[in-house]
Symmetry: C2
Subunit: 338 residues, 2 copies
DNA sequence: CTGAAAGCGCTTACAG
DNA sequence: CTGAAAGCGCTTACAG
């Protein structure tokens, strides 16, 4: 009945006093309500409402030694980051999935080594209970051993090259997706199919090229293969290269949509038309596939699903379950470019 | 000299024991090193290295009642979010600037009302010391009063419509930028200049249209004004509308680059050419201005600068300084579209 | 089902 | 400059 102290935030003691119970009982209803009588529970609930009580997250974390938060660690060069909407989609998906469990997302951007050190420091320092790893490039993962040594669970987006067996991951089925795109291009009558492959130190870049090779089998012609870095400009450049080396190609499978946009620009700049002269297939189904002309036929990566599964696996790992790896199928989306 | 306890993380007590000083002294060097003798300081530093001690952030936060973290609150529909790279750039800028002070960024995405409630709860719950507000649309800010009532400092990106006087902000000079673009279009000989304006419940959309009107003065023709929502598709649609209503326009100022891409698609689909028949000026200098053909002449918004200043003002506000508002000039970037 | 008590790991006046 | 002590606000065995 005593009104809570003037200025300060009410604490658990204030609630206990108002409810006429002990601090322990208040804490019990706060942490799940088990082993509390209905009467006590009701009194506490009322007292919480009356006092406007909110749990102090730091005190709780100190007592439980759980941070109740998760890190989203992005180790990617900044250029890629802004160019590539996939990251934003992953971020949203993860944030939303975590919100369901009332767990905030701490965003850690570590594009260079100094930032990676800082991020590692932060993660192993007890600020978070686990980490969602989004770092496509190999070699940007020197911190992985340190994190796992510290016992902080982590789940990777895409196969963590070199750590496949050490940390869990969720990846799109890049290999089969690439196969399917090539198969599709053949099905519409194309016979000289080139590719602009993504970076070969990423699992996606690697697997998609492998899928392309596998599907083509004996029809693979090395001159029809060029490489980019997933950026728009690199797609444009690689396509010019391809047109020079193999001017007779009638289709090209490009490692992601953004490079596909660049490739289309290159193709059109030589007076050829898409898809009439050269059909273009992309990968991702990112906004880049839609925002421009022609719209791009592509393999859809289910990023919402991927981020959801990542969160699910991470939460499970934090709860002590064994980690796991999963692969999720991609889906052909037909549009104007092929 | 005693080795630290086996499994547990070393605490400040372990350090004190190894260094042969009291806990208070260790804490003093941890928190700045003032009022500590050189000898003691050296001993503590050595002990920290020896034990591998790391401060427990929760314990520190509980004792100081400071969270040592800052929220980045994004209240924007998800579609916009992925379409618009500006958010990513702001995010990066803020993250980098905060990292300098060793302050992590907690990302809060609140696209709908339920998420906003949750975010407000989180912010006023003591999880963070301040918030960077990125929410262009008015009406998405019902939570502002509650946050300021809780005494949590906030700095807005762009003018917080309806709260101009209550919370600090950093905004690009949209009005002058729009004026300059129109002036430029005139300087290259265009006389019938239309505009695709952004959403009129955002300070940017509002001010840019105002700048357009102001610069044109008596030459404003209402039929040459259409509206979009900053998305690609809306730019395309609005441009078609404009071409119907005012087929003789020879230039168009579009409220952002992404809509400008859509407008270009619309223009070219009618057989007209950019910039020969219709010159197109955008706003932002986002990747969309570069990733496509033709590249877009635009007004550069200095987002790195904006995010830096936001962080600076927020940190100052957290430190108890009075809040402030600042406006930063934009810059014309000439490319192919005009 | 409930209360009293110890403990989580730090910081910060207070004396000296 | 330094140590002893109180305090930050919670949780969780432990008895009952």
């Amino acid at each position: 009945m005593t009104p809570p102290p003037a200025k300060k935030r009410p604490t658990i003691d204030d609630v206990a006093r108002v409810a006429g119970v002990s601090r322990g009982t208040v804490s019990r209803v706060l942490t799940g309500g088990h082993w509390v009588s209905p009467d006590a529970s009701a009194a506490v609930t009322a007292a919480i409402a009356e006092t406007g009580y909110r749990v102090n997250p730091h005190a709780r974390s100190l007592a439980t030694s759980k941070a109740n938060s998760v890190a989203f660690l992005l180790t990617e060069s900044y250029e890629r980051l802004f160019d590539d909407p996939n990251f934003a989609i992953l971020l949203r998906g993860a944030s939303t999935a975590l919100a369901q469990s009332d767990i905030p997302l701490v965003l850690l951007m570590a594009g260079n080594e100094a930032e990676q050190r800082r991020a590692t420091e932060f993660i192993t320092g007890g600020h978070v209970d686990g980490v969602l790893l989004v770092s496509s490039h190999q070699g940007r993962q020197d911190f992985l051993p340190e994190i796992s040594r510290a016992g902080v669970p982590a789940i990777s987006c895409g196969i963590p090259l070199g750590f496949e067996r050490k940390i869990g991951y969720v990846a799109a089925d890049d290999f089969s997706g690439a196969q399917e795109m090539v198969r599709y291009l053949r099905s519409i009558g194309r016979t000289r199919i080139g590719t602009v492959a993504g970076p070969q130190d990423t699992s996606g870049g690697l697997s998609r090229l492998r899928g392309y090779r596998d599907e083509l089998g004996d029809d693979v012609v090395e001159d029809r293969i060029a490489y980019g870095d997933y950026g728009f400009a690199s797609g444009e450049r690689a396509m010019h290269e391809l047109l020079e080396r193999a001017p007779d190609i009638d289709a090209v499978f490009v490692g992601n949509d953004l490079m596909a946009r660049g490739a289309i620009k290159a193709i059109e700049s030589t007076g050829r038309r898409v898809p009439e002269d050269i059909a273009v297939g992309g990968f991702d189904d990112s906004p880049a596939a839609l925002d421009g002309s022609p719209t791009i036929t592509t393999m859809r990566q289910p990023f919402e699903r991927i981020s959801q599964e990542m969160v699910r696996l991470l939460l499970a790992a934090i709860a002590g379950e064994a980690t796991a790896a999963m692969t999720i199928p991609t889906q052909l989306v037909r549009r104007e470019s092929a």
